[in-house]
Symmetry: none
Subunit: 192 residues, 4 copies
Amino acid sequence: MATQQTDEKIIKAFSKLVLKLGYQGTTTKRIASEAGVNESTIFRHFKDKHSILEQLVNTYSRDIEQIGQSFEFTGDIVQDLMRVATIYHDFVANHQVVFLLGLRESYRFPEIGQALRQLPKRFKNLVVTNFNEMVEAGEIRATANVTEEATNFILLNFGNAVFTYAYPTARLQVPMKAFLAENIRTFAEHLQ
Amino acid sequence: MATQQTDEKIIKAFSKLVLKLGYQGTTTKRIASEAGVNESTIFRHFKDKHSILEQLVNTYSRDIEQIGQSFEFTGDIVQDLMRVATIYHDFVANHQVVFLLGLRESYRFPEIGQALRQLPKRFKNLVVTNFNEMVEAGEIRATANVTEEATNFILLNFGNAVFTYAYPTARLQVPMKAFLAENIRTFAEHLQ
Amino acid sequence: MATQQTDEKIIKAFSKLVLKLGYQGTTTKRIASEAGVNESTIFRHFKDKHSILEQLVNTYSRDIEQIGQSFEFTGDIVQDLMRVATIYHDFVANHQVVFLLGLRESYRFPEIGQALRQLPKRFKNLVVTNFNEMVEAGEIRATANVTEEATNFILLNFGNAVFTYAYPTARLQVPMKAFLAENIRTFAEHLQ
Amino acid sequence: MATQQTDEKIIKAFSKLVLKLGYQGTTTKRIASEAGVNESTIFRHFKDKHSILEQLVNTYSRDIEQIGQSFEFTGDIVQDLMRVATIYHDFVANHQVVFLLGLRESYRFPEIGQALRQLPKRFKNLVVTNFNEMVEAGEIRATANVTEEATNFILLNFGNAVFTYAYPTARLQVPMKAFLAENIRTFAEHLQ
DNA sequence: GATGAATGAGTTTTCATTCAT
DNA sequence: CATGAATGAAAACTCATTCAT
């Protein structure tokens, strides 16, 4: 329906603008002109500016639930970690706006912070489970500190994601493909 | 003298408020009342609001030059990396405001981005130098990929720093002491 | 419609206030209260304060184009000059605001100066044309210096207009009717 | 003394700036830096910004008293009017600042208006006296309307002065020398 | 269901002026 | 007698939001 379309047009416009201009820079006026609707139409579709963001955060939270649900460990740690990292980065890529807003605005909107925290938690669990299984199967050294390694794995990926999205102009960071193929592999090999 | 004190009062107030309220939320009115001076006094001491930030960025840039200048490698990789990580996190702790503003506002103020990029560069150099020496001395396996390991080290520390300062309310991250004592140690031990 | 009315209300308020208070004295707050609208409404109708003035200047420039287009010389120099002077003074009376702002603020807003300069040019052309025809027709002495007489005519009218509008409280100047009936007549008769 | 010098430095700076920037554009800060004194020093020498202007106006008024006191008519109307016009324009040139401020700001500062009005009055008297004498002496036609001719003479000169000083960038007006040599001559010859 | 118009609270900044030294 | 520092009042302008149609 028309309504549905308008909702989406607004969300799309908001998302696009936020990446370039930040939350405050994304004024309702600009959203309206980018979405091709009247400024006041925004307020018929969303209680206020903040609830556009809220809706994006909700989608984010819903999507998080499904992460890794159908993930199956192969038992090959290098393969497994590379696949987990890929899922992580795909998720972030698909939720850039919330990821960035979380980085930039979570001090103002605690709900974003809350939603974002689920991501590393979830991935850490995924990795810890995998590690424990592998330790039992003898594929990871028994001496390995599983929790710390998992934390390091998350921090590594998180650090790379922040670099990629928070400083988009700086071409300092490792390109994502290389990062997955090389840095994550290097990390994984240490565990064997 | 009075001027110096006022300059400092304003910078202090600005820094404090920016952490809580962000750059835009830190209005000149609030700075004034936090610093206990008249709003217009701010403009006698700083050309405009933005140059308060500029001054902090300048200090940041100046301080970066001196990082690691007197650093001496012990040859013990665990010790060395723990010390480098400590220096990194001390630096970030002393420049929280710039570090955070860089994360949040670098898309608006490219100069911050530029200044911030120096930090990982500098540390990476420090670590790469160290690694190369150790490879030659036989303390790191010759098969190790020095550049990738250095990148991972930086990303790990960067990720932890962002976690610590960007989500201050979330007590999810590893406390800094533990991070240094355990996670960095774990990372380092893989290289031996 | 409402918009049109509001535009006009703002322009009217601006014009009225500028005469009394000058450009700077005419604050947006005062314009708003004089026009009976909210201060921010002004900025929905005009990009900024300066473009209210701009609009008046544009009207001025547009109106100038039409001056004297349908003017027909009678061949009677006294009659003709009195009619030209009347047109001049009517025009100035209808564009008091721009005329005055040109006098007062053209050093700040060069565009006003530019627009204003058209007025004497246009009138001088009108007069010179008329004079030349009359010299040929023998109605003005052949010895008359046409250009100088035209300049004097313009300066006379300009001087009177400035007197009238720049020192509105001073009742020193010749009332406009008398000026036209007597001073311009006197001037004209010298040419016969 | 030092005080005297400072007074003068301030007045000079004020005068110079007002010509370029107008009264409001001439901020106390700029006056101070142009005069090479501290901003607050201005207020030790003048009650407030406005009394700098007042002092210039007083000088203007004092100088006006002396205009034409020693003027002697030659009986040659062309010569006489050219000399009167020269005196007029010299006076205006020497009091540009007050002349311009009168044009621009007399709506705000009625005292300037009052002072300025003396100038045309004085000159008109001078000219009327001269004309009457010449009519009696038969050098001007008896039919001449003395008052109107005098008014026209004043308006002509005033108009030219305004053109010269109010639109300094517009090189549209008659250069002063030519104006005196030709336009005033033309005007004068009509009276013979 | 969408729009055009209007608004009030707030923002950064400027400026003449005062005060303590 | 002059200065450096501080101030209060006001200026132009922005923005999310409401209201009548």
